[in-house]
């Protein structure tokens, strides 16, 4: 298995300082962060490949790693990682605790690290991993049992290792960490297992734990009135996708997932902050500067963790977010103020959108009449139909409540008239799993 293993990579990550990561766009030959740059745009300035020659692309090399022996949830064993490239070395994770350094030119394995994963780890969704972060000579990754592990980027040997989730509570971890300044940030997975989502920050060189920010407030904390009883303790809101960062504002923007339990809102009346939200956090202490909730009281598992893309226009600083509830949201990223919400796919229900005139949560006026997402379950042949109260919209069957059947995407994503825009899309729903 280790045949041909060099055991060593060129020490390219030594020079991956914060200053360089902050200007990652200036190095189009590299891909230094999860999104290519802190702003989440995933834009490459390379122009060698274009619409005229893309058809001529051919495979240069393949690196394959099949599952070995028994693995947890083999049916979901899949590659979901974004490769990180630093000066000719490609860093990549696989499912089940694997990390590789490859020669980007020929795919040759330079080093491999594998963290032993127990078979009985509770995986709510998938045995997957979304990749590494690099900084200061180290490669950071999480394994599914929730360890943040710092490897020496040259040798692949562990430098430090910190546990930040509790598998006994149903938590796991799958995201690519985010290295910001002298910190590395991670978030938890397991939103379908009755957990309480959180983000954690560690010191890059020592692994010292700096702060934890829960995404669901406990009684007495701001936002706690959007929960009833003790539902907050299993409220979900896991932070399983890497955040984006604005160095000028010194704010990290992090998405949170669905509330728990996901399809049944009866046990958690209220807006369920801060699930399905974006949190703007101070990376130094994790303090919450502002938030915006894409789907209050989600009963569709919209899981609003998707990236928050930062862009500027006419001197204003914006944040864009395509949510699984079918809307593209634009916010002012300094204040979290609402700018617009444009439907780009058939919404599966009536969403209460917070605008300057109406808000679903304190600080701004309440909306007139409460229009939180509703579900009208109609059982037919053991399946639950989730119906959209919006007249004229398609009524897609989403997930079946029958455990044995596969997730069902909408039959078709037909155009649906809401607001000004009318869009048609053939996009399939995001099957990525937390």
């Amino acid at each position: 298995m280790d045949a041909g293993l060099e055991g060593r990579a060129p020490s390219v990550v030594q020079g991956a300082t914060y200053e360089r990561l902050a200007k990652a766009r200036a190095e189009p030959q590299n891909w230094l962060t999860y999104y290519g740059a802190y702003d989440g745009q995933r834009y490459s300035a390379l122009d060698q490949i274009h619409s005229g020659n893309v058809k001529d692309l051919a495979v240069a090399w393949v690196f394959q790693h099949p599952p070995l022996g028994l693995v947890s949830t083999p049916v979901t064993y899949a590659f979901e990682a974004t490769p990180i490239v630093v000066d000719g070395v490609l860093f990549m994770t696989g499912p089940d605790g694997y990390v590789w350094a490859l020669d980007a030119a020929n795919g040759k394995l330079l080093w491999q690290y594998h963290h032993a994963i127990p078979l009985d780890v509770p995986l709510c969704c998938g045995n997957v991993n979304r990749g590494v972060a690099v900084a200061e000579g180290k490669v950071f990754f999480v394994n599914v049992t929730g360890r943040l592990i710092a490897l020496d980027a040259t040798t692949g040997q562990p430098v430090w290792d910190k546990l930040f989730v509790d598998v006994r509570a149903g938590e796991s971890a799958t995201l690519a960490p985010l290295a910001v300044k002298d910190k590395v940030l991670v978030g938890s997975s397991g939103g379908e297992y009755g957990v309480r989502g959180h983000l954690d920050a560690f010191e890059i060189n020592t692994g010292r734990h700096l702060w934890r920010r829960y995404t669901v407030p406990k009684p007495g904390e701001p936002g706690s009135k959007t929960w009833a009883g003790d539902a907050w303790a299993r409220g979900g809101g896991t932070a399983w996708i890497t955040g984006t960062y604005d160095a000028d504002l010194d704010l990290v923007f992090w998405g949170t997932g669905n509330p728990g339990p996901d399809f049944d809102g009866s046990m958690r009346p209220g807006d369920n902050l801060y699930t399905n939200s974006v949190l703007a956090l101070n990376p130094d202490d994790g303090s919450l500067q502002w938030h915006y909730q894409w789907t209050p009281h989600d009963v569709w598992d919209y899981d609003g963790v998707n990236e928050n893309i930062l862009f500027d226009q006419e001197g204003r600083m914006y944040l864009a977010h395509f949510d699984k509830n079918g809307y593209l949201f634009i916010l002012d990223r300094m204040t979290g103020g609402f700018v617009s919400a444009i439907p780009f796919a058939a919404p599966l229900g009536e969403i209460s959108i917070a605008t300057p005139e109406k808000s679903v949560y304190s600080g701004r006026p309440r909306p007139q009449g409460r229009t939180s997402a509703r579900v009208r379950p109609a059982r037919r042949n053991g399946r639950m139909r989730l119906t959209a109260p919006e007249p004229g919209c398609p009524i897609p069957r989403w997930w079946s409540s029958a455990a044995s059947s596969n997730p069902r995407p909408p039959n078709s994503a037909r155009a649906c008239r809401i607001g000004a825009a009318r869009w048609r899309t053939a996009a399939s729903p995001n099957r990525a799993s937390s």
């Binding site: 298995m1 280790d2 070995l68 022996g69 028994l70 491999q112 690290y113 594998h114 963290h115 032993a116 994963i117 127990p118 078979l119 009985d120 780890v121 049992t145 929730g146 360890r147 040997q157 562990p158 290792d161 546990l163 930040f164 989730v165 509790d166 598998v167 006994r168 509570a169 938590e171 009755g194 957990v195 309480r196 959180h198 734990h209 829960y214 406990k218 003790d230 907050w232 303790a233 299993r234």
Partner: protein
Amino acid sequence: MSTPLFWRGVLMTPTLQFIALAVLAPVLTGCSYAGLVRPSVLKELNPRVAALVNELPNVDHPNNHLVAKIYALGGLSHAKAGRDGVMRAGIRVPKDQYIWEPAFIVMPHAGELELEFDNRDQAIHMAFLPSNGGRQLLYLPVHRRGTARITLDQPGLYWFGCPVANHAGRGMLGFIWVYGETPKEARLDRPPQPQPESD
């Protein structure tokens, strides 16, 4: 009350006859069987389990019903921690059985485990083992011994096996159970939650 009466009384109650048998059992049959009279084991004596156990001897003769041996046949052993903190256990490969003996190793907590393998078989075997950093492969030629040291830092269930010619499928699949709790600093800040199957 007199002593003879007392003893006569004891021997006349079926419950205490049972206890006497339980005390005698280890002397007669070896210590492992004594555990079978524990309440937790007796509680499991339901028809489903009895039917399973009755079937096991039938399937465990290669070429009778199956080619494979039963994975659990090699039994269980607890690794013992040495003065250096390293836990140790031995595993044999008996002749013509295609099993690990024991097949289950219990680590009382996460850490380093040294496994000494003894291949008493006339076939070549290998031990493919889980460990942080990378899996380990220990070559076990005929009638040879070998030692592997592995590190497991997370409580849970791990597997090991012989990758030679599907020996794992024939019975050479073993398990390592690492006991332990999640450290306090990694637990969620919330009231204790009910756990499935917990008492």
